[in-house]
Assembly symmetry: C2
Amino acid sequence: MSRSVKGESLPDKYLGGRGHTIGTNVAGTAARSVSHRKEVAMTQNRWGIAGAGFIAGMFAWDLGFTNEATVTAVGSRDLAKAERFASERGPMRAHGSYEELIADPEVDFVYVAVPHSEHARVAELAIRAGKPVLVEKPFALNARQAESIFELAKRENVFVMEGLWSRFLPHMVKLREVVESGAIGEIVSVSADHGLRFDPDHPEHRLYDPALGGGALLDLGIYPVSLVASLLGDITDVSAFGTLTATGVDAETSALMRDTAGRHGIINTSLSTESSNRASVNGTRGRIELGYNYMIPSDLRIVSFGEGNPAHGEKVEDFIGAVEGGMGWRFEALEVARCARAGLRESPVVPHALTLKTLRIMDEIRQQVGVRYDAD
Amino acid sequence: MSRSVKGESLPDKYLGGRGHTIGTNVAGTAARSVSHRKEVAMTQNRWGIAGAGFIAGMFAWDLGFTNEATVTAVGSRDLAKAERFASERGPMRAHGSYEELIADPEVDFVYVAVPHSEHARVAELAIRAGKPVLVEKPFALNARQAESIFELAKRENVFVMEGLWSRFLPHMVKLREVVESGAIGEIVSVSADHGLRFDPDHPEHRLYDPALGGGALLDLGIYPVSLVASLLGDITDVSAFGTLTATGVDAETSALMRDTAGRHGIINTSLSTESSNRASVNGTRGRIELGYNYMIPSDLRIVSFGEGNPAHGEKVEDFIGAVEGGMGWRFEALEVARCARAGLRESPVVPHALTLKTLRIMDEIRQQVGVRYDAD
């Protein structure tokens, strides 16, 4: 039998990754999260989580590693599920609808962790209630949905951000610093890959379901696509190949991108294989190599090309992007609070333009590959 | 100033790579090669090298690490260059033309190490003389040239092989064994990259010259393309992006391939950056990761996906493909002699079909990218 991710067993895989410090498993750390909450002060950022699934649980768990934020409520369409979540991850209040969750006076910020197909609808509810909102990636099913949400948020003067949590991790902050410093010269190409094997014998998994916005690209491919989008300029060309599942979503997608300056982006994503999950930013004076599973806390190798004899002039710097406790989801939550309190309507780290650019590329890839959602 | 490869300083770079054992530099080992030749027996395979450049030198140097083959002659259009080569790499005879070299009665096998644009013509001379011939990669400028040479070789009943020397290196032999064993299941995708920076301030380099078959794809990209071609089935789709130099060859080429079974190939090659030069073969039950500079003696990591909990079921095996002395060019030379003496007209390791498949893919990529040679 092949290595597989059944149901939502994904966290074990991630928690087993290297380059970050995690003491125990999700169940074990829930208790730790509770003990943290005893120190909660009234100045904390109070979060309500829409959704009571895997990602909701990871977010709640990670907020247990900071004293600056807490989860005060969870909402699900299934009250029993919300109550179970609240008792496992709490103390927190449980609501049987997203509307009730959002209306809860002890909820300052809303985290949308519902299936992809519901992101836009629930984000809209929070914005209409005037509450700053963090929407799990992918922000929406397509660029049109995202544009509509951003327009609403602008009208309502409410902060909204896509939960591209990786961008706040230490190694990704370092990557941007290195690129901006000019240490690797001009970018020539960005290559990135993210594949995890989801057992095709379990086609009931949400990633196999087109109605839930399934497929490799939207859930996994967004990491390589957004990395390329964030480092390249305006994308003028996209070319993609896809191999679909029997359910009509993409099991395997490969795509090329090119910007106005002729820089190349090369991405691959898969539900059929756990690929090497590496990325690299290649420049005229050096390159940055991202280690295994670069979308979680990971390491970087910065290679600066030497002058003259290439074999001897090379300079290599290893940067270990460790996060103390948790997986680093809390950083995006702290950013939302910081921005919203400062009166910003978007974050400079995950600006609306990046979310739109990424979705526009993914729209084009999906069209070429032949994956269509009802919302398209 | 950026890291650069000026003129033919490339060997220093390669010699500085990891994963293989090299005692000294090219100049230093030439002497070692000479001392080996003292043990030469009459039963040795006697090679004549057409061309007296960098690759010719590497080949001669590497043959110094075996007692089964020797270089007896070198030929160049420039007799002085041939004589210099012979005195540095000898003892061997120097000829002022390829015709004389090939006619030399002490030359049993011919190695064609002339510029890409001359491969087909010189290979033809050797075949017409009835001497088994090894043609440095790329075998020809395009598939049409290669077809013509293979047809001639068939008519003349002469052995001919493309010098895809990497395929004989220990880690590549291991790679094929692992794939054939089924240990990584069915192949889902093959991803490979080869980029080396050639200083754009030195556009006189042969790789910048379209008349010499310049560009990244033909010289460097052939490694990733042939790796994909060797592991995937019949290629049905190719899509490529290229960014060209002022001289009209490809500085940066990225391409996607797909075979009849929906398996993906993703390659990137560059003259503008030294990319991470890694490759990976991704399967349904595991993957093979090829280390830095996988086209020279290098290492493999074989990851077998575990059952059940992915974090704990994974099995990792590291294979170090070291070569004792030299870079392993001699293996292809020994294969030519073995095959030709056994009455074969092609090698099962680098069959004519692989050379043609690779060139047909490269023809298609070049057409899409807009790189055209006079021979096209």
